[in-house]
C-alpha cells in the first residue's frame, strides 16, 4: 500500500511538471467556459440547449483529454521506454504503477469538475447542480469511463506517439457525437441516439440532467457503465507490460 502511495505521490509530481498536460486538462476547459460565458448575451436558453451545457461541455472536454490522451500517452510511453520492464525487476508489480496513474488521473478529473462547477457558479452565474448526488454520480461515472478508454488505448497501442494519435482520432468524433458543436435541438434528430450512448455524450447529458434537478436517464448511465466494463475487459485481455 505504501508503495502505491509513494508511486502516486511521485507520479503526481511528474504530472504537474508537464505543462502541456496542465494546459489541455485545466486551462483549456476553463478558457472555453470563460469565453462562451462572456459571449452569452443573457437572452436565456434556446433551441432546447440545457442551461448547464457550457460547464458540462468544459468538464466533458477536460476529463475527455485526461482519459483519451494523457493517460494512454503516459502508460504507453512508460512501456515504450522500458520503465515498466525496469520496474518488473523489482519486488513491486508494475500493476501498482497503473493503479497509481488511475488514482492520479481520477484526482485530476475531480479537480477539473470542482474547478468548472466552482468557477461556473461563482464567476458566471450558473446555479449549483439541482441534484447533487446524481450529478456527482454522473460526473464520476463519466470520468471512470474515460479512464477505462485510456487504459484500453494504452493496452492496444505500443508507443506514446501512437497512443496520442489514436486518442485524438477518438476525441474529435467524441466531441462531435456529444453535440459540442450542435447542442440541444441543433443536432439532427437522426443521430441524437449517438449522443445518448457515446461516452462523452452520455456523460455530458447525464450531468446536464442532474444539473437541471432530475435523475439522469437510465440509458446514459447504462451506456457509461457498459463502456467502462467493455474497455476494462478488453484492456485486461490485451494490455502488455512490455
Amino acid at each position: 500500500m505504501s508503495q502505491t502511495l509513494t508511486l502516486t505521490r511521485i507520479e503526481s509530481k511528474l504530472f504537474v511538471r508537464e505543462w502541456t498536460t496542465l494546459f489541455f486538462v485545466f486551462v483549456l476547459p476553463i478558457g472555453l467556459l470563460t469565453i462562451f460565458s462572456l459571449m452569452d448575451d443573457g437572452s436565456g436558453s434556446s433551441d432546447g440547449i440545457p442551461a448547464s451545457f457550457l460547464p458540462t461541455m468544459a468538464i466533458g472536454i477536460g476529463v475527455g483529454i485526461l482519459g483519451m490522451t494523457t493517460l494512454p500517452m503516459i502508460l504507453a510511453g512508460y512501456r515504450e521506454k522500458g520503465v515498466l520492464r525496469r520496474m518488473s525487476t523489482t519486488p513491486v508489480r508494475p500493476v501498482k504503477l497503473l493503479i497509481a496513474q488511475l488514482l492520479l488521473h481520477l484526482a485530476a478529473g475531480v479537480v477539473v469538475i470542482a474547478l468548472i462547477v466552482g468557477l461556473g457558479t461563482l464567476a458566471f452565474g450558473f446555479e449549483l447542480p439541482g441534484s447533487p448526488v446524481p450529478f456527482v454520480l454522473s460526473a464520476l461515472l463519466y470520468t471512470v469511463a474515460q479512464l477505462a478508454i485510456g487504459v484500453l488505448i494504452a493496452g492496444l497501442v505500443p508507443t506514446a506517439k501512437g497512443a496520442s494519435i489514436v486518442g485524438n482520432i477518438l476525441f474529435f468524433p467524441s466531441m462531435f457525437f456529444a453535440g459540442v458543436w450542435t447542442p440541444g435541438d441543433l443536432m439532427p434528430e437522426s443521430i441524437r441516439w449517438l449522443r445518448d450512448i457515446t461516452p462523452m455524450g452520455a456523460g455530458m447529458t447525464s450531468m446536464q440532467d442532474a444539473w437541471a434537478g432530475q435523475w439522469p436517464g437510465l440509458v446514459h448511465l447504462a451506456a457509461l457503465v457498459t463502456a467502462t466494463v467493455a474497455c476494462v475487459v478488453l484492456a485486461a485481455r490485451f494490455f502488455r507490460w512490455e
Binding site: Q3, L14, K81, R85, R86, T90, P91
Partner: protein, 308 residues
C-alpha cells in the same frame, strides 16, 4: 548443484518466433566475482541475463539463482538481483533523488538513498531531471537503482556503451568498488578491453552459443596458436641456425628484420643462441596475444568490428 555457485545456467535456449536468440548456453557464476558475458551485438547476451533476472521464460534448459527458479520465485529473486537494463529509461522529468526514493520504496530492506547518491558522485545533481543528466550520470544513476535494494548480484548490461573514455574509466573503477563491497557482478559487454580489465571470468557468446568460458588470461592462452618474435641482428645469420632450434617453427625475412614463430620456449632459445654467437638481437619485438586475438581465434572473426 554445487553450493558455491550463485548462478547456474544449464542448456538455456530461447527463441523469438523463427529467431534463435539463445541456442544453448551453460554457465555458472561464483560468489564475489565479476563475471563477463562478452560477444557481438545479437549474440544472445541480453536474453541470457534477462533469463537470469527472470524476465524471460526459457524455451528449454534451466536457470537457478541461489538455487531458486527466477521465473517462479519473483519475490526472492527481485530482492536478490539488482538490474541495470540496456535501453530502459526513467521518466524524463523525474529527479535523480526522486528516482532513488521511489525505487527504495519498492524493497523491503533498501540501502540509504542519500548514501548511495554520495557514493556514486550524484549528490550535486540530486535535483536534476533524468533527461538533463549527462550520459555518465544517467548510467551512474541506473547503477544506483540497481544497488538500492541491497542485492547480492548486480546485472550490468552494456554499462559503458555511449560513454566517453574518461566516463568509461570512472565507471570501471565504480564496478570494482561495488564488487569489493561484496556484490557479485554479471557484466554484459561487447568491449574487449572492458572485459579484459574488469572480469575474473568471461563467457564468450556468439550466435547463441558459449564459444569459450575462462579467465581472461586463460582465454588468451587457449587462443595462442604460436609465439611470434621479430628482431635485427648485427652481421649475417643463416636461417638454418634458427631453424635448428627445437622451439622454432618458421623463419622469415621482412626487409632486414627476421621474423620467427614457434612455441612458448621460442624467445629464450633464440636469445640464448644468438647471444652465444655474439649476435645479440636488436630492436626485438614480441607480439602480445590479446583477448581480441582470442575472440578471433575462437569465433572466427573480430569482435569490435562485428557490430559496426
Amino acid at each position: 548443484m554445487p553450493e558455491n555457485n550463485l548462478v547456474e545456467v544449464s542448456h538455456l535456449r530461447k527463441t523469438y518466433g523463427a529467431t534463435v536468440a539463445v541456442d544453448d548456453v551453460s554457465l555458472t557464476v561464483r560468489p564475489g566475482e565479476i563475471f563477463g558475458i562478452l560477444g557481438p551485438n545479437g549474440a544472445g547476451k541480453t536474453t541470457t541475463v534477462e533469463s537470469i533476472a527472470g524476465l524471460r521464460t526459457p524455451d528449454a534448459g534451466t536457470v537457478r539463482v541461489a538455487g531458486l527458479d527466477p521465473r517462479k520465485r519473483r519475490t526472492e529473486i527481485t530482492s536478490l538481483i539488482g538490474v541495470q537494463l540496456q535501453a530502459s529509461e526513467l521518466p524524463e522529468r523525474i529527479k535523480a533523488w526522486e528516482a532513488l526514493e521511489l525505487y527504495a520504496s519498492f524493497y523491503p530492506d533498501p540501502a540509504d538513498p542519500a548514501e548511495l547518491l554520495e557514493r556514486l558522485g550524484l549528490t550535486a545533481v540530486r535535483d536534476t531531471a533524468f533527461a538533463k543528466l549527462s550520459g555518465g550520470q544517467k548510467q551512474r544513476l541506473s547503477i544506483a537503482l540497481a544497488l538500492i535494494g541491497n542485492p547480492k548480484i548486480a546485472i550490468l548490461d552494456e554499462l559503458t556503451t555511449g560513454l566517453d573514455p574518461q566516463a568509461r574509466r570512472d565507471t570501471w573503477e565504480l564496478v570494482k568498488q561495488i564488487r569489493d563491497s561484496g556484490v557479485t557482478i554479471i557484466l554484459v559487454t561487447h568491449f574487449m578491453e572492458e572485459a579484459e580489465y574488469l572480469c575474473d571470468r568471461i563467457a564468450i557468446i556468439d550466435n547463441g552459443l558459449v564459444v569459450a568460458l575462462d579467465t581472461p588470461a586463460g582465454l588468451v592462452d587457449s587462443a595462442r596458436v604460436e609465439q611470434r618474435i621479430s628482431f635485427r641482428v648485427p652481421g649475417s645469420l643463416d636461417d638454418s641456425v634458427l631453424k635448428a632450434l627445437p622451439a622454432v617453427d618458421s623463419v622469415a625475412r621482412d626487409g632486414d628484420r627476421i621474423v620467427v614463430t614457434g612455441n612458448d620456449d621460442l624467445l629464450v632459445e633464440v636469445v640464448v643462441e644468438l647471444a652465444a654467437r655474439g649476435q645479440a638481437p636488436r630492436d626485438l619485438h614480441t607480439e602480445q596475444t590479446t583477448l581480441d586475438d582470442a575472440f578471433l581465434a575462437l569465433a572466427g572473426r573480430h569482435l569490435e568490428g562485428a557490430d559496426r
